[in-house]
Amino acid sequence: MTLHLSIFLWLPAAAGVLGLLLRSDKVARILAALGAFGTLGYAITAVVDYDRDQAGLQYVTDRSWISELGIHYKLGVDGLNLFLILLTAVLFLAAVLWSMRRPIERERHYWLHLGIGQSAVLGALMAQDLALFVAFFDLMLIPFYFLTIGWSTAENKNAAVLKLVIYTLVGSLLMLVAAIALAVLTKDASGNELTFVISDLTKTTLPEGSQDWIFLCFAAAFLVKMPAFPFHGWMPDGYRAMPLPVLAVFSGVLSKVAAYGFLRIVCPTLPDAAVEFQTLMLIIGLLSILYGSALAFTTTNVRLILGYSSLAQLGFILLGVFALNPQGAQGAILQAVNHGLVVAPAFFLAALAAERAGGSEDIRDMGGLAFRAPVMAVLFLIVAFANLAMPGSANFVGEFFILLGVFNAKVAIACIAFAGVALAAVYSLRLFIRAMHNRTGADTDSREIGVRDGLVVVPLVLAILALAFYPQLPLEKGEKDVVGAVAVAFERSDPERAARENGEDPTQAATPGRPESGVDPAAAGGAIDPATGAPVDPATGTGQPVDPATGGGGEQIQIDPNTGLPIDPNTGQPIQIDPEQLPVDPATGQEVTP
């Protein structure tokens, strides 16, 4: 089945523009809802239709956008972004529905910016061209800027949002330079035409010196956007200033784009730098967890509690990414989806609680709702449990994977990170208890959740439950591409383990000796990255799905990048390489052993 990603991508923005032009608030509202529903329909279709056996990009749209600069309008869906796209569609629909029942000034502009925001986020997720990604990544901030200055009720909204924009664009613009440098240096190294298509960029590995500074620029962009400690300076003010439905999508989706950027761009194109800075990034993740948790259980503003808890959760995701192994990456993507699904209803429920506490967003003014509003309390409880990664929830699975990955990579960091799980319980339960139980606040009006608010929150909670019952869905559908994204970095950071995981199947014993990694970048990139020169990137890994015997959450992953690959015909020979005897570079091991 062919899905036109361009329609998918531009539908929300088109609905917004049309609504603005038609000069009727009511029509604009309906159009916005239709746009969001249509996008969700598209996203669900994509998830259902997505062929998990065919790794690599699907539904590719590829046109030359600016031929002089080698920039393509290339969109595609693969296991890495599939569920993040679905998450985006779900959360934006929730935000639209939530906004619909509340009076909004200059309504048509509101829908326009929300629509553009959704299109920009979808664009950043779908873009398979580095320049296009950067453009969408920067662009997605602008509608949120407008949404905040136009519809915030906060006192210092202008200053807060300016801080947000400058902070995040500092990183983004550095990324712009990094992206251009990456493409130009790749051009110089490979001798090909200038191109920004990501799959082409992964074919050539740059020298380490260039990788390092380019990596740092990318990291600056993504860490600020997440945010991660100590780059979160914009977050408290920004979170307080944003209108609530806007904040729900901002916190739920935009931060994930940053985590996604690491997996989509940084790990495949800059594997050596990723390995080199692995410890630094893990420490940043760890600090985010500890700092976020500590602040989440000391602040009293609901938005900030959720903000700092997001900081901690994104610390986990960062840990997963920079475990640089399949488990960590899988966990990071799963956790990104989980966190988005949790934080958005949490914001909505917090807003409902605040409405019932006389408009105060301070948890000291809330409380005592559970008795008169049991449904709301139950919904909140589910969200809180999911947030603290209760065993049985998908968040648990995600965190488990992440910690397993980190454990395999750096034991010491994993040990400290385990504390984060406990801390999550503290702040989540504190939020729940203070908001729902406790003594009834002075101005509290214990109303039950309304039907129309329920229509927004309940489906999200159901989605959390569904994912809790069946976390395999995103894990399995995305597996090949997620694993492929970190494969090169995995091999360079931990060649022995990579060899062991890849080489367990004796018939594919040549796998660990993925030839000339580091020596011949093109071949290494081709072998590991899905891009093998074919335009649509047929993936090279056929990862054996699940090996129950090996335990580890039942997700022992094996990559066989050689099947179907014309590059390594010699691998048919069953070469047994004992992982213990492997030299540091598996490549040489293979060269030596005939």
Binding site: R106, G150, L162, I180, L185
Partner: protein, 515 residues
């Protein structure tokens, strides 16, 4: 040498087709000046601007007619090549928009329509000469031909002290700049023995003059002189005052056209004639560019006058464009010309909105004037928003592509750190551009407009029927809105479909003797 002598002895062959865009402009200037003498108000206020537009249009048409030509004109004094032709179009667009903006403005009414428009046309003609100049003498003639009318134009709102101050300041500083430039050109001639650009390049190449102190002294003075013209720090101090004081349509013209002309000659002089010693001047210019970007952006932060803000912003943008000159590659030339075109589009939109609001409110060009126009005048609001976002380099605007191209050129020319300087500048710039955007969409009530200052002194020679004061009559002039809407939309469209602009600049670098 003999050939030069011979050429001097015989009258040079003149390719009338090649200089036809210039003739159209100068002919227009004469006609308009004569027409301005008529007593009929219609002739002066309607026909003069109309004929000016016709002259500019004719010149643009002739430019397009010559599009595929690659010629040396008048014994090599002027060069007709894609760089000159592309920049001609940029200049003529700027002039066209300026005429539209000044159609019902105070400046031509106070100074007389004929003179105003004829000065404008002469100035454009000077710029056209300048961007085609490939000889030191032509360069200087072009420079003076465009500068001197501008000094006068700045002071055309004669009853406003700031306008007079602006004109005087520009005159003094511009003259100093010209003098320094002339000295520099003389030294270059002294070092190389040639005034022709290709001759200079050949002399540098042949005699190994790359580090010759006489030549370097000349280059340094030339840089200083040109830096005055394109307001490169630390020679930019006149810019905010002159921009603020000059009548806004004139400011518009100065902001976009002067930049284009000055960068045209920058490109041709440094990337053709002086390319041999680029190792020496490029680092120096890189430092100037860095300084310019930082000074311009930081200076713009605290401004409440939009014109001052845009003046500092233009300083910063000059710094960005200088990067394209520094790398001295074909790509750099293309990126600079591309950015000049983009810069034209974005600034015209912004200035048109300022002109409109000056006439509609009593706030002049203060940021108060645009508070809430997103609600009252959505068209202007969107135009200004897009223009500001474009100047800040936000994606989906032409400014993003322009910056992308410049950074691409910088990285490609081994000046990756200048790319980082550009983005650092862009970050700072967000603070003031977004302040304007926030004001546009602000929902707070605007402060009541202050009425204009008291009656200004009468001035001898002023048109007797001219209004005595700057009158915010609330009139909504369609031509101003048209300029704002057109170029605001262009900012967006060229950001999404930049292909045509790339086609326009594709050959700009090819005519230069680069590598």
């Amino acid at each position: 040498m003999t050939s030069t002598l011979l050429a001097a002895a015989e009258a040079p062959k003149i390719d009338w087709g090649g200089i036809s865009p210039l003739i159209a402009l100068l002919g227009g200037a004469v006609v308009v000046l004569m027409l301005g003498l008529f007593r009929s108000r219609f002739a002066r206020e309607q026909l003069v601007p109309f004929l000016t537009l016709v002259a500019i249009g004719a010149s643009a048409g002739l430019t397009i007619w010559q599009w595929d030509e690659r010629l040396d004109l008048i014994s090599g004094a002027l060069r007709l090549d894609p760089l000159a032709l592309t920049l001609n179009l940029v200049l003529l667009t700027a002039a066209f928009a300026t005429v539209l903006l000044s159609w019902r403005a105070n400046a031509p009414r106070e100074s007389a329509h004929g003179e105003y428009h004829s000065l404008l046309l002469t100035s454009v003609a000077g710029m056209v000469v300048l961007v085609g100049a490939q000889n030191l003498v032509t360069l200087f003639i072009g420079l003076e031909l465009f500068s001197i009318p501008l000094y006068v134009l700045c002071a055309t709102e004669m009853r406003r002290a700031t306008a007079l101050e602006s004109g005087l300041k520009y005159l003094i500083i511009g003259s100093a700049g010209s003098a320094i430039l002339l000295y520099g050109l003389a030294l270059i001639y002294g070092a190389t023995g040639d005034t022709d650009f290709t001759g200079i390049a050949a002399a540098i190449e042949a005699d190994g003059l790359g580090t010759d102190s006489l030549l370097l002294g000349g280059i340094a003075l030339t840089i200083v002189g040109l830096a005055f013209k394109c307001s490169i720090a630390p020679f930019h101090q006149w810019t905010p005052d002159v921009y603020e004081g000059a009548p806004t349509p004139v400011t518009t013209f100065m902001a976009v056209a002067t930049k284009a002309a000055a960068f045209g000659v920058f490109l041709r002089l440094f990337d053709v004639a002086l390319i041999g010693s680029s190792d020496t001047w490029a680092p120096f210019l890189a430092i100037l560019a860095t300084l310019t970007i930082l000074v311009g952006n930081v200076g713009a932060l605290g401004q409440s006058s939009l014109k001052r803000m845009l003046a500092y912003s233009s300083v910063a943008q000059a710094g960005y464009m200088l990067v394209g000159v520094i790398v001295a590659t074909q790509l750099g030339v293309r990126a600079t010309v591309f950015y000049l075109a983009v810069y034209l589009v974005m600034n015209l939109a912004a200035f048109a909105v300022i002109v409109a609001r000056e006439r509609e409110t009593g706030h002049g060009d203060d940021i108060e004037a645009i508070k809430g126009i997103g609600r009252d005048r959505p068209l202007l609001g969107w135009a200004l928003t897009l223009s500001m976002l474009g100047l800040a380099g936000v994606p989906a605007t032409a400014g993003f592509i322009g910056k992308f191209y410049l950074i691409d050129a910088a990285v490609d020319g081994d000046y990756a750190w200048l790319g980082i300087v550009i983005v650092i500048g862009s970050m700072i710039s967000l603070a003031y551009y977004l302040r304007v955007v926030a004001a546009v969409w602000s929902t707070e009530a605007t402060a009541t407009a202050t009425t204009g200052a008291g009656p200004l002194p009468a001035l001898a020679g002023a048109a007797p029927d001219g209004p005595s004061n700057f009158t915010p009559d609330g009139a909504k002039h369609w031509e101003v809105s048209l300029v704002a809407a057109l170029f605001g939309a262009a900012t967006l469209v060229l950001g999404i479909v930049p292909g045509p602009l790339f086609d326009l600049v594709r050959d700009s670098g090819s005519g230069l003797g680069l590598f």
